[in-house]
C-alpha cells in the first residue's frame, strides 16, 4: 500500500484534475468523473503489468453510448465468466438496442440487470480498485461515473479436494482442505449446518493482502479467547503470510518452546469436532492447513480415528502413542545410562551378551548413540525431501546397508541399532508430523544429560521438561491439562477416552455452554 500511495502521488502530479479527498487522517484517492483519466491513472499504477487486460466496451445504443472499459487480470479470472456473463450480455444489449430509438446511455443500475454475475460491488477509490483487480475481480469503469463496478469473477486454478497425505486415516472421511479458502469454508459449513458457526474475515499482510478467516461457534466459544485471538490478529505487522506457521509465530506466547501451542490439521472433520469443543479455527487463503487453538499437550496424541474406532481399540492406540512418546524421547538415553553408569541393573545373562557385542566397539556408548541418531536424522531429512520412490530406496539403503555395515565395521553394537531403530519408529507413532519435531529436539539434551549424569541426568532432564510443560499455556489454557491442573470432568476424555454416549452425559452437568458435547481434549 505504501507503494500504491507513492505512485498515486506521482500520477496526481500529472493529472491536476484528480480530486484528493482527505478523510480524517486517511488519504484516499478517489476516482474522477473522466474515464480517460481514470484509465490512465490505473495504467500508471499497474504499469509494467502486462497480464492486466483493458477491454474497451460501448454501453447503450449505437447512437448514444457510454464509453466504458473492463479491466481484469487475465490469469486470476475465470475467462469464461468474463466472456459469457459480462462481455456477451453487454454486447448483446448494445446490438439489440441498436435498431431501437432509445438514445440513453446505460446507467449503473442497468448494468446490474444486464450482466449475469452473482456479486457486484461499488468502489470509489483506487486502492479498492487495485485490490479488486488483483483479487481476480473484473472492474467496469464508465465515463461520467465516479464509481467503478466490481464483478466477482475469480477463477484461480485450485487443486481438487483430495485425500490428505499427511493425516490419512483407515476409517473416516477422505476429503481434506485445499488451497482455496472458499472451498475450505465450504467443507466445514457442509458439515456444520448451523447459523452459530461464524466466520470472521481478516486481511493480513501489507503486500500479500491474504484473506484469513476466524471460525468459531458463537454459543460455545469462550468470548475472552476469541477477543484475544482477534486482537492478536489485528496487531500483526507483516508484509506477507504464506503459511499457517507465520501466524502461529505471531499468535503464540512461547515461541522458543519446543512444543507447539497450536495444532494444524488438513482434515475438515477434525476441524469441525474442535469447533464443537469451543475451539477456534483459523483458515488462511492459499494454504491447506487450518490452525486449531487453544490445544493441550495430550491433544498432540489424539487422532480422529480414536473416536471413530471402537473404544477399547481407540484407547489401546492412545496408550501406544504415549509409549511411543516415551520411547522416542528417552530410549537412547536409558540405554546410555544403563550401559555406562548402572550396568548392575541389567540382568546378568543379558549383560554378558551386551558386553560381548560392545567389546569390539571402540567408542563410548554416547558417541555410538549420537553417531547412529545423527545418521537416522540425516536419512529422515533426506527421504522427506526426495520424491516418493527414491525416498523409499534411500530408507532401505539407510536402514539395511548402513545399519548392517556399521555392525560389521564394529562402529556400533547390534543392540544399539535396535535401540535407535525403535526410537525412530516410536516417533512415527504420533499422529502429527510436527509433533515429532519436538520429540527429536528434546531427545538430544536428554541423551547428553544421560551421558553426563546417568539415570540422575535423565531425571533432571525430565524434571525440566515437566516443569516447562506445567508452566506453558496455550492462549491462557493450561497446556498440561487435564493432568495438571487435574480436571475431574475431563478424565473421561483427554488422556484416555470414554464412550461417546457417556461423554455426552457428563456434559449436562459440567458445562452449561454446550449441552451435548464439550468433552474432547480438555477445555
Amino acid at each position: 500500500m505504501r507503494f500504491l500511495n507513492r505512485l498515486l502521488n506521482s500520477v496526481h502530479g500529472q493529472h491536476r484534475e484528480i480530486e484528493l479527498v482527505d478523510q480524517g487522517n486517511k488519504k484516499r484517492h478517489h476516482l474522477s468523473n473522466d474515464l480517460s483519466i481514470n484509465r490512465d491513472c490505473l495504467k500508471e499504477i499497474l504499469k509494467e503489468m502486462d497480464d492486466i487486460v483493458y477491454r474497451e466496451i460501448k454501453l447503450g445504443t449505437r447512437e448514444a453510448y457510454l464509453e466504458a472499459v473492463l479491466i481484469y487480470a487475465i490469469n486470476l479470472v475465470d475467462i469464461n465468466i468474463v466472456n459469457e456473463n459480462i462481455i456477451r450480455p453487454l454486447n448483446a444489449y448494445y446490438l439489440s438496442k441498436a435498431e431501437h430509438s432509445c438514445k440513453e446511455p446505460l446507467t449503473e443500475a442497468d448494468i446490474g440487470e444486464i450482466v449475469n454475475i452473482s456479486r457486484i460491488n461499488n468502489v470509489t477509490s483506487y486502492g479498492d480498485l487495485v485490490e479488486g483487480i488483483l483479487s481476480g475481480n473484473t472492474i467496469l469503469l464508465m465515463d461520467q461515473c465516479e464509481k467503478a463496478l466490481v464483478f466477482s469473477s475469480q477463477g484461480r486454478k485450485a487443486r481438487d479436494v483430495e485425500e490428505s497425505s499427511v493425516e490419512s486415516l483407515v476409517r473416516g472421511p477422505r476429503d481434506s482442505f485445499v488451497e482455496s479458502i472458499q472451498a475450505n469454508i465450504g467443507l466445514i459449513r457442509s458439515r456444520l449446518k448451523t447459523p452459530s458457526l461464524k466466520a470472521k474475515k481478516k486481511i493480513i499482510g501489507s503486500e500479500s493482502r491474504t484473506t484469513v478467516y476466524v471460525l468459531y461457534i458463537d454459543n460455545i466459544v469462550d468470548q475472552q479467547l476469541l477477543d484475544n485471538v482477534i486482537k492478536k490478529l489485528d496487531d500483526i505487522q507483516i508484509d506477507g503470510i504464506f503459511e499457517s506457521g507465520y501466524l502461529e509465530q505471531y499468535l503464540e506466547k512461547s515461541s522458543y518452546s519446543p512444543f507447539s501451542q497450536m495444532q494444524i490439521t488438513e482434515r475438515p472433520d477434525k476441524a469441525c469436532a474442535n469447533l464443537l469443543e469451543g475451539r477456534v479455527i483459523i483458515l488462511i487463503d492459499g494454504n491447506p492447513q487450518a490452525l486449531i487453538l487453544p490445544i493441550t499437550f495430550f491433544q498432540l496424541f489424539q487422532s480422529p480415528e480414536d473416536y471413530y474406532e471402537r473404544i477399547l481399540f481407540g484407547n489401546f492406540i492412545r496408550l501406544l502413542r504415549y509409549l511411543g512418546f516415551i520411547i522416542a524421547t528417552s530410549l537412547p538415553s536409558i540405554y546410555i545410562a544403563l550401559i555406562s553408569f548402572h550396568h548392575e541393573m541389567i540382568p546378568m545373562d543379558l549383560m554378558l551378551h551386551l558386553s560381548k557385542t560392545r567389546a569390539q566397539v571402540p567408542f563410548p556408548p554416547v558417541v555410538e548413540v549420537l553417531l547412529m541418531e545423527g545418521t537416522i536424522e540425516l536419512l529422515r531429512e533426506a527421504s522427506a525431501r526426495l520424491p516418493n520412490t527414491i525416498g523409499q530406496t534411500i530408507g532401505i539403503v539407510g536402514a539395511i546397508v548402513i545399519g548392517d555395515a556399521a555392525i560389521t565395521a564394529h562402529l556400533a553394537s547390534p543392540t544399539m541399532i535396535i535401540v535407535v531403530a525403535i526410537t525412530a519408529i516410536g516417533s512415527y507413532v504420533l499422529p502429527h508430523y510436527s509433533t515429532s519435531y519436538s520429540l527429536r529436539l528434546i531427545r538430544f539434551p536428554i541423551i547428553l544429560m544421560a551421558a553426563t549424569f546417568g539415570a540422575f541426568g535423565i531425571i533432571i532432564a525430565w524434571t525440566w521438561i515437566i516443569v516447562h510443560l506445567c508452566s506453558l499455556d496455550s492462549f491462557g489454557y493450561p497446556y498440561f491439562s487435564p493432568l495438571a491442573p487435574f480436571d475431574r470432568g475431563l478424565k473421561k476424555d483427554g488422556i484416555f477416552r470414554g464412550a461417546l454416549w457417556r461423554l455426552g452425559e457428563s456434559a449436562n452437568t459440567a458445562n452449561k455452554k454446550n449441552q451435548t458435547r464439550w468433552w474432547r481434549g480438555g477445555l
Binding site: F341, A455, C470, S471, F480, A484, P485
Partner: protein
C-alpha cells in the same frame, strides 16, 4: 474457565497434592529405623498415633486460617500478633524454609552419590539440583502446584513398591501387638513426627487457593491420613521383613528393603525406588523453597517472585555445601527438625489460641 487457572493461584485439589508431596520426602528413607529404635515391633502403631495427632494439628491450622481467607501469612499474623512480631516470625520462617530446602537438597545429593553417581563431585550435584529447583519455582505457585500434580501420579507406582517384600516378610516379627506398652508407643511417635514435617506450609499457601468453597479441611486431613496409611504400611512391611532388632542396624530401611526380593527382568529394584523418590524430593524442596520466596514477597509486598527465587539460590547452594560428611548432614537435619517443632506445633497452637482470645476485637476491627 478461562480465568480459573490464572497465575498465582492454586486449586483445592492442588493444595491437597502439595500437602501429600511435601510430607513424603526425605523422612521416608529412615522412618522405620528411627521409630523402631524406640517402639520396636509396635513402631507402626506409633506412626498411626502420630498421624492422628498431625491430622488434629491440621484441623487446627485450617480452622484458624479459614477465618482469614483474604489475608496472606504476614497480614493475618500481624492481625493476631501485632506487626513487629509478625515480621520476626515471617523472617524466621523464611530462614527455616531455606534451611529445610538446603537440608533436603543435601540429603538428596548424598543419596544420589551413594546410589547413582559414586564418583561425581558433590558440588556439581548440589548445583544441578539447586538450578532445577530454581527453574521449578521461578514461575510461581501455579506451575509448582502443577508439577506436584504430575509427580503425584508417579507416587502411585512408588507406593506399590511397599508390597514387593511381602512374600519374604513374616507376621511374627510384628507380634506381640502392643507388647511394648503404651508409654513406649507414644514415645515412638516423637521421632516419626519429623517424617511428617512440612504440613505447616498450608499456613503460607492457603491464601492462594482460588476455590475456597471446596472442603479444604476435609482434603487436608485426608492428605495427612493418606500419608499416614502409606507410612504405616511401609513401617509395618519393613519391620515384618527385618524384625525389630535387625532393622535398627539398617541405615536406609526403605531402600535396603527392596533388595530383599529378586525380580526377573530388572535387577537392583532399589534404583527404581531412588528414581521415583528423586522426583518427589524435588517436589518437597520446591514447595519449601517457594514458601520462603512467597513469604519474602509478602513481607516486601512486591509482585516479583522470581527475583527472590534467583537471589536466594546461592544461599541455598552455600548451605548445602556446609556439612562436611554424612554425620554432619544428619546433625543439620536434627537441628532443622527442632525448628519444625516450633513452626509445626508451637506456632499454629499459639496463633490458634490467640485467635480465640482476640476473636471479638478482630470482629470489631473488621467491621470498621
Amino acid at each position: 474457565m478461562y480465568q480459573k487457572y490464572s497465575d498465582g493461584e492454586i486449586t483445592a485439589i492442588q493444595s491437597f497434592v502439595i500437602l501429600i508431596s511435601i510430607m513424603i520426602g526425605t523422612g521416608v528413607l529412615t522412618l522405620a529405623r528411627v521409630v523402631a529404635e524406640v517402639s520396636r515391633q509396635d513402631a507402626w502403631i506409633s506412626v498411626i498415633l502420630n498421624g492422628i495427632f498431625i491430622a488434629f494439628m491440621m484441623m487446627i491450622i485450617v480452622y484458624m486460617i479459614s477465618h482469614f481467607p483474604k489475608h496472606n501469612f504476614v497480614q493475618y499474623t500481624s492481625c493476631l500478633l501485632g506487626k513487629p512480631l509478625a515480621y520476626i516470625v515471617a523472617f524466621s520462617y523464611v530462614i527455616y524454609a531455606l534451611l529445610v530446602t538446603a537440608t533436603v537438597v543435601r540429603i538428596l545429593s548424598e543419596m544420589v552419590i551413594t546410589w547413582l553417581l559414586t564418583n561425581t563431585p558433590l558440588w556439581i550435584i548440589n548445583l544441578i539440583i539447586v538450578i532445577t529447583i530454581v527453574y521449578m519455582v521461578k514461575n510461581g505457585v501455579t506451575a509448582l502446584a502443577r508439577y506436584n500434580e504430575v509427580i503425584i501420579f508417579m507416587l502411585i507406582p512408588f507406593s506399590l513398591l511397599v508390597l514387593v517384600g511381602l512374600p519374604e516378610a513374616s507376621i511374627i516379627n510384628l507380634r506381640p501387638v502392643g507388647g511394648t506398652g503404651i508409654s513406649t508407643i507414644i514415645k515412638g511417635a516423637i521421632p516419626s513426627f519429623f517424617s511428617y514435617a512440612g504440613y505447616e506450609v498450608l499456613l503460607v499457601y492457603y491464601p492462594y487457593i482460588s476455590d475456597k468453597q471446596k472442603p479444604i479441611m476435609r482434603n487436608s486431613v485426608a492428605a495427612v491420613l493418606l500419608v499416614t496409611l502409606f507410612y504405616t504400611a511401609t513401617v509395618a512391611a519393613q519391620i515384618a521383613l527385618y524384625g525389630p532388632q535387625e532393622i535398627q542396624h539398617v541405615l536406609y530401611p526403605s531402600i535396603t528393603y527392596l533388595t530383599a526380593v529378586e525380580f526377573p527382568v530388572i535387577e537392583r529394584m532399589e534404583i527404581f525406588f531412588t528414581i521415583f523418590w528423586v522426583f518427589t524430593v524435588f517436589g518437597t524442596a520446591g514447595i519449601q523453597y517457594l514458601a520462603g520466596c512467597i513469604l519474602l514477597q509478602n513481607i516486601f509486598t512486591t509482585e516479583k517472585i522470581h527475583l527472590f527465587a534467583y537471589g536466594l539460590a546461592p544461599i541455598i547452594f552455600l548451605i548445602t555445601m556446609l556439612p562436611q560428611n554424612t554425620r554432619e548432614v544428619v546433625d543439620l537435619g536434627d537441628k532443622v527438625g527442632r525448628a519444625n517443632v516450633f513452626f509445626g506445633l508451637v506456632f499454629p497452637l499459639a496463633i490458634f489460641i490467640l485467635y480465640f482470645i482476640r476473636k471479638e476485637s478482630l470482629k470489631h476491627e473488621r467491621n470498621h
